[in-house]
């Protein structure tokens, strides 16, 4: 399970980094989402991986899963959700105002001018 989770985080992170290095806002947003998924799984794993263990105190149970990372992940998910929503709106506005979905829209206009 450890290897599987580690590979999961690795693939998500590398995919995210690859995508945020692209020049279109859409792929940058996708990349940021993948990075935030990776970090969520990572935070989970930092409470160590357990199977079938309760996080809340129960009678007759001696071993528990760490409840704190689960709370942290919840907060992180909410925050990244809100941020992504804001970023999508912002990039839509940028697309409308700058007439391009390039993250560096002015540079693109120059190139377009040269081509035509």
């Amino acid at each position: 399970m450890e290897i599987l989770i580690a590979l999961c985080i690795a693939f998500l992170t590398s995919g995210g980094i690859f995508l945020i290095l692209k020049s279109r806002t859409f792929s940058v947003i996708l990349g940021l989402m993948m990075l935030s998924y990776a970090v969520n799984v990572f935070l989970f794993a930092m409470g160590r991986l357990h199977i079938d263990k309760p996080a809340i105190l129960q009678k007759g149970v001696t071993e528990y899963a760490d409840p704190l990372p689960q709370a942290l992940v919840l907060t992180a998910i909410v925050i990244s959700f809100g941020m992504t929503a804001f970023l999508i709106v912002l990039s839509l506005r940028a697309r409308k105002e700058l007439d391009s979905d390039h993250v560096d829209a002015e540079g693109l206009e120059k190139n377009r001018g040269e081509k035509s």
């Binding site: 945020i20 940058v28 704190l68 941020m83």
Partner: protein, 504 residues
């Protein structure tokens, strides 16, 4: 347990809620509530300052949960200074926003403004690294919206850059926190400092790496090389009062490095004690050099001021890198002054841009404009203050930092970079001042745009704080010296935070 500690967070939060509801009344009501909130916040902060002068560090445990398990807020010399700087700066910024009618350009300016203060104050007070993340997100989200306030293509473009890089920073912050929690098993800064001192050698590497990851995130906020490229564009293209308020944002990063790294990797950390310091020093020096080049090559006055914000952040990074009590105390003193002056300079640059009509704030020759002598005088005063020349507070602060630097092994590099960059800054400002105010095109008709006199009052107000700092330099430096001794005696900080559980 005094509830005073939590008030600087609650006042702007409730203020923003009230302003949100006041939307149904009218714009005037919003302005009134916003000013009222900021003034109340200042009163609270001054009371907090007096309390700290009285009884040193105050610790507040939310809901009386014991220290490593609950949410902790800590009010000590450094954080109360930062709180007061934020609230005093926000008066000037808000005043200008109302006088120049910038706040009317969008409907939620005042709400966002208060939420920004809420996030900043929270970041200054929290004693818990995950809450630091949460407050960072709060202040960032309102800063994204504020940076885009008003209109303009450039604003959207640089706002997008600012947001994307900060989102990447947030992800890295979570990676750093997660890795630290995985090894140390706690998120309370004081408790983490204890755990680091008991670390086994094979775990040290992980903690050191995640510490550097956090340094990267704070360095992004503090505009440390190579992560400063977002700053000049964002700051020079947003509206003036927002840019003035953003002058405190780089200091949030600086504060976090001092608080988080200075405590966790403080004198108790064994092998990891102050291992991050050479990084901060080296990168700070590079940042200062690049900021100076930016100042000299800036094409508009706002861009130049934005690079000055970068230069002051770099100076603070260097003083963290020197890592001595005196340098730190000088850094706190310099921080107070540079925040107000940079904020006021953004406002001044905006008025100059308005007065010059189509020439805006470009550093080029232009015909004469209205009240050129008065504005020129203000520019002269601000130029002296921002380039740290005597007799103003920046000079004293920089001297204290350099005096602390005498003990540093890298004294030669620190001295040469700081002094040469100061000289180049003065030359750049002299060039700007003479192009805008002296070398006017007298043959052409002068520009006939006037501004109401009241618009200058926030600018004079922010400048006067720097003046007060010099007048009371002795008592202020005594206080900053005490605060910087607190920063270096992490044992006391830890015992204060962890002690609280025995008292209850």
């Amino acid at each position: 347990m005094s509830h005073l500690v939590i008030l600087p967070i609650l006042v702007p939060l409730f203020g923003s809620m009230m302003i949100l509801f006041a939307k149904i009344l009218n714009h005037k009501a919003q302005q009134f509530l916003s000013l009222l909130t900021v003034i109340v916040l200042n009163v609270v902060n001054i009371i907090a300052l007096l309390k700290v002068l009285d009884s040193n560090t105050l610790v507040y445990q939310m809901g009386n949960w014991e220290a490593p398990f609950g949410i902790t807020f800590v009010l000590d010399g450094l954080s109360v200074t930062m709180l007061l700087v934020t609230s005093l700066l926000s008066i000037g910024s808000l005043w200008y926003a109302i006088k120049s009618k910038v706040d009317g350009e969008g409907i939620s300016f005042h709400v966002l403004f208060q939420l920004l203060i809420f996030g900043i104050n929270g970041a200054f007070l929290t004693g818990d690294i995950f809450n630091l993340f949460v407050f960072f997100e709060v202040l960032l989200l309102s800063s994204y919206a504020l940076a885009l306030h008003g209109n303009g293509k450039k604003r959207v473009r640089f706002g997008l850059h600012y947001m994307i890089i900060n989102l990447v920073g947030s992800v890295l912050f979570l990676f750093g926190i997660g890795a630290m929690y995985g090894v140390l098993g706690t998120l309370n800064i004081a408790d983490m400092a204890v755990r680091v001192s008991e670390l086994t050698p094979q775990n040290q590497g992980v903690v050191a790496a995640s510490g550097l990851l956090l340094l990267l995130v704070f360095g992004l906020k503090a505009a440390m090389f190579p992560l400063y490229f977002w700053l000049p564009g964002t700051y020079s293209n947003t509206s003036a009062p927002v840019a003035a308020m953003f002058a405190i944002m780089t200091k949030v990063g600086i504060y976090s490095i001092i608080r988080v790294h200075g405590t966790i990797f403080g004198p108790l950390a064994g092998d990891l004690s102050y291992y991050y310091v050479p990084w901060v020093l080296g990168l700070g020096l590079i940042t200062l050099i690049l900021a100076t080049i930016g100042i000299m090559s800036a094409k508009t006055l706002k861009e130049q001021v934005a690079y000055f914000v970068l230069a002051s952040a770099a100076t603070l990074q260097i003083s963290i890198g020197i890592n001595s009590t005196i340098a730190m105390s000088g850094a706190i003193y310099y921080l107070i002054q540079s925040t107000f002056i940079a904020g006021g300079f953004f406002l001044l640059a905006d008025t100059i841009g308005t007065l010059r009509g189509e020439f805006k704030d470009k550093i080029v020759r232009s015909p004469k404009f209205k009240s050129i002598v008065f504005v020129g005088g203000l520019f002269f005063a601000y130029a002296i203050a921002i380039s740290s020349m005597p007799p103003l507070a920046g000079f004293l602060g920089k001297t204290m930092i350099l005096y602390g630097g005498l003990e540093s092994p890298y004294m030669g590099v620190v001295f040469s970079v700081m002094i040469i960059s100061s000289l180049l800054m003065i030359i750049a400002l002299a060039k700007t001042g003479s192009l805008i105010f002296y070398d006017t095109q007298d043959s052409q008709e002068s520009i006939n745009i006037t501004l109401p006199d009241k618009i200058y009052s926030p600018i004079i107000y922010l400048f006067s704080i720097s003046f007060v700092l010099v007048l009371f330099a002795n008592s202020v430096t005594n206080f900053t010296l005490k605060s910087s001794q607190e920063i270096f005696s992490t044992k006391e900080y830890i015992s204060k935070v962890m002690q609280e559980k025995r008292d209850d």
